[in-house]
């Protein structure tokens, strides 16, 4: 223990190696998921959309570890190929809202006044509706499909990031170091983006991780409802919907995609927790 402490004193940079365990486990789960998402063909034993009428609704066997569905498609291969779409949903549905929401939130939090009042009403309007209902309404106007789903989630989702960042910037801008920046003659732009935002963005990053898990759930929900990814594409929500009529006889069609969702959700949550610890400000 004492050796470790001395090392920290001698090499301040080494401290970065003392990563939180949650971060390590989260990174491993998400890293492996990304690997599968980029190269599904390396991992999948079968073609995810190839029908096999000789092996319909077969339970887990050595040949089909996760069984087959009502068209004889290999569930394991479909779960693996679904990583590509579902990881894509996780990133594309959240990255836009995260960036846009952070910028708006930083502006609103710093400017206050009229901007804050208008923003407050926008937030009220958005959170009055349940998130899913609003997204479904937008998707049904735009038409089903993944692209429209990203748009729908983006229109609604940025508000939550903006609210988090605005609240935090509002706290930070009253601290002395913000005043010190003003007295140093720095421009408001520099004060907000170089000084306040790095200290205010942590909750938004942590929420972003959770939001990616939520986006996968949402994508799966919309897939299940037929508004997201379209059959025969392999997507966990679509797969669960495919299996809903066979729950009592062929549980494996829905359960394995469900487990994949749980694992990826866990991965993002661990990553979020780990980042929160890593980014915590030392005072």
């Amino acid at each position: 223990m004492s050796v470790a402490v001395e090392k920290i004193g001698l090499y301040p940079r080494l401290r970065r190696l003392a990563l939180p365990r949650t971060l390590i486990s989260g990174t491993i789960i998400i890293g492996v998921s990304l690997l599968i998402a980029f190269f599904p063909a390396l991992f999948a034993p079968y073609d995810p959309i190839a029908f096999d009428y000789k092996a319909l609704l077969k339970g887990p066997t050595l040949a089909h570890p996760f069984g087959t569905d009502s068209f004889g498609r290999d569930v394991l291969s479909r779960v693996i190929h679904a990583y590509t779409i579902d990881m894509q949903i996780a990133v594309f549905a959240t990255v836009g809202p995260f960036i846009f929401g952070t910028i708006v939130g930083a502006y609103v939090g710093y400017a206050g006044g009229l901007a804050e009042a208008i923003f407050g009403r926008v937030v009220d309007a958005v959170i009055t509706f349940p998130f899913l209902v609003l997204v479904i309404a937008i998707v049904s106007v735009l038409g089903p499909g993944l692209g429209n789903m990203y748009v729908a989630v983006g229109i609604v989702g940025w508000v939550f990031y903006a609210r988090l960042v605005a609240a935090e910037v509002k706290v930070q801008k009253r601290l002395d170091y913000a005043d010190a920046g003003r007295v140093m003659g720095y421009t408001p732009m520099r004060i907000v983006f170089r000084h306040l935002l790095p200290n205010a963005i942590t909750p938004a990053i942590v929420y972003w991780m959770t939001d990616m898990a939520l986006a996968i759930l949402l994508g799966s929900s919309l897939g299940y409802l037929g508004l997201g990814a379209q059959p025969p594409a392999a997507e966990w929500g679509v797969q669960i919907a495919d299996g809903k009529n066979f729950m009592s006889t062929a549980w494996w069609i829905s359960v394995f995609p469900g487990i994949a969702i749980v694992i990826i959700g866990l991965g993002f949550s661990l990553l979020g927790d780990g980042l929160a610890q890593l980014l915590r400000v030392r005072r």
Binding site: D176, R182, R194
Partner: protein, 339 residues
């Protein structure tokens, strides 16, 4: 003193609105406002140290923030080298702040926790183009030497330093832009006494070397006496007395200054007095009495004090006080006997 003052404060007032309650609206009463500064005027001369003292809540921090334009006064004007600072816009304002710097009270809150010392100094140096890019690392080392921090401090974050070291980082940041004036707001009140002395002596040495003008806001009278050429005593947003440090401390011309001095704890137990210098509490700054603000606590109060606010008038060449008792403190020995 000589020539044109570097900063002149002319009748400055500042109010902070309290929330306007529904009851007051219905009753037709005006909104409540805290009068943090009330017609404050004084001048600061180049190269001097002006101490500003007063109890907490007297408006001295508000005044400090007005001087560097973190706050804009509601009335009156603050002039820097003859120019009203409230008229300065963007680039001019930044140029003004380059010359008039501030050091903050809280050594924990005044440094960005996510920036290393060298990032802090580098930013100050490069934004104001104080040095060509290649000379910046050398200048950072120079600044660290100036405030007596080790060179390896540059790569460290604020949380790795003690309070006194952080204040020195704050001083280095202020000095990076080579200012003419430094406003120090309660510079050392958050520090241990032993560290206080180090930081104060550092600042005084720097003042001498760099010909700085210092405005030193504090509540610690002995500290202010030790370092200031002139002292202003504030009470409820007004200056009660202003004069050269030695004469003000030796023979205060205002009952409030005297009360403050008497209230300062005496180190020698045999010298301690049990006489209460000022009775009662500070009146609410929401509702400052019409006459002399000190009237409710003054032991020399008489009728006129409660109706007419005394103006700041000359007592000696450099010494002014705001009291109807023009002769108060004129013969300090006689008064001391009376107490």
């Amino acid at each position: 003193m000589n020539a044109v003052p570097i900063i002149s404060v002319d009748g400055v007032s500042k109010q902070f609105g309290a929330s306007y309650s529904l009851m007051r609206r219905l009753a037709g009463e005006p909104p409540l406002a805290v009068h943090a500064l009330n017609n404050v005027s004084f001048e600061v001369h180049r190269g001097e140290t002006l101490g500003i003292v007063g109890e907490s809540g007297c408006g001295k921090s508000t005044l400090a923030r007005c001087l560097v334009r973190l706050l804009d006064p509601d009335g009156g004007a603050i002039r820097f080298e003859g120019r009203d600072i409230s008229t300065l816009r963007s680039a001019e304002r930044r140029a003004f702040n380059k010359r008039v710097q501030m050091i903050f009270q809280d050594p924990y809150g005044s440094l960005n926790p996510r920036m290393t010392v060298s990032q802090v100094l580098n930013e100050a140096l490069s934004v104001h183009r104080m040095r060509p890019k290649g000379d910046i690392p050398a200048r950072i080392t120079e600044l660290l030497d100036l405030v007596r921090l080790p060179h390896d401090a540059a790569s460290r974050y604020p949380h790795e330093f003690s309070g006194g070291q952080r204040q020195r980082i704050g001083i280095a940041r202020a000095l990076a832009v080579e200012p003419d004036v430094i406003v120090a707001d309660e510079l050392v009140s958050a520090l241990d006494v032993s560290v206080q002395a180090q930081v104060i002596n550092l600042l005084l040495r720097l003042q001498e070397e760099l010909h700085l003008t210092l405005i030193f806001v504090a509540h610690d009278l002995r500290l202010v006496r030790h370092i200031s050429h002139r002292v202003a005593v504030m009470y409820l947003g007004q200056i009660m007395e202003i004069g050269p440090s030695e004469s003000l401390f030796a023979s205060p011309r205002h009952p409030y200054s005297k009360a403050l001095l008497d209230a300062a704890p005496e180190l020698d137990p045999t010298q301690r007095s049990r006489v209460v210098a000022a009775r009662g509490e500070l009146p609410s700054p929401l509702d400052v009495p019409p006459g002399c603000p000190f009237a409710s606590r003054c032991s020399h109060v008489f009728d006129r004090c409660r109706v007419e606010r005394p103006a700041l008038t000359k007592r000696a060449s450099e010494h002014s006080a705001a009291c109807h008792l023009v002769d108060f403190g004129a013969m300090p020995s006689a008064l001391a006997d009376a107490v």
